[in-house]
């Protein structure tokens, strides 16, 4: 999903504010620390978001897109192994 800005939408933009959930704060912190450690930068974050399938992009919230991109980029760089996150989630 690339260059979404300026498209016509079927519904108005939701401008309401909402409290950030704990996981959203953690995703923000995660991206900040990955950047500071030189693991991935903001341009890679954006590219990872743009690589999402259109349908998944539209369905996802702001930080869900960030999280999707982090997984994409870290897999690409070999920081995460394929299946590693799923296995971790299953074992808790």
């Amino acid at each position: 999903m690339h260059d979404r800005g300026g498209w016509h939408d079927h519904s108005p933009i939701d401008r309401s504010e909402h409290e950030l959930a704990d996981w959203e704060l953690l995703v923000d912190a995660l991206v900040g620390s990955l950047d500071r450690r030189g693991v991935m930068n903001v341009d890679e974050l954006r590219r990872g978001i743009e690589s999402m399938p259109a349908e998944a992009y539209e369905r996802a919230s702001y930080y869900e897109r960030w999280l999707s991109s982090v997984e994409t980029i870290l897999l690409e760089k070999g920081v995460l192994a394929p299946g590693e996150l799923d296995a971790e989630v299953r074992t808790g």
Binding site: D3, G5, G6, D43, R47
Partner: protein
Amino acid sequence: MTYAPGDRVRVSARSHQGHHRTPGYLKGRTGRVERVRGSFTDPETSAYGGDGRPERRLYLVGFAQTELWPGYPGAATDRLLADVFEHWLEPA
């Protein structure tokens, strides 16, 4: 080619495969340089593991909203301000 505040510039209409920060709705449109932001790493390479060098000069460019959006309902003096890299600009 470098630009100074007040210069008329056109955003290149070329397409670009891959990550770039030039919004599609500005491509081919003419605006005016408002400010020189400075030089920054190039997202078109730093999004793919490169170091983003050489740095590219970035400009704040102002566009008339009425020229961007057909039937724009706001004031004729409304402007849209966007950061555009030098290699996406042409003299107008």
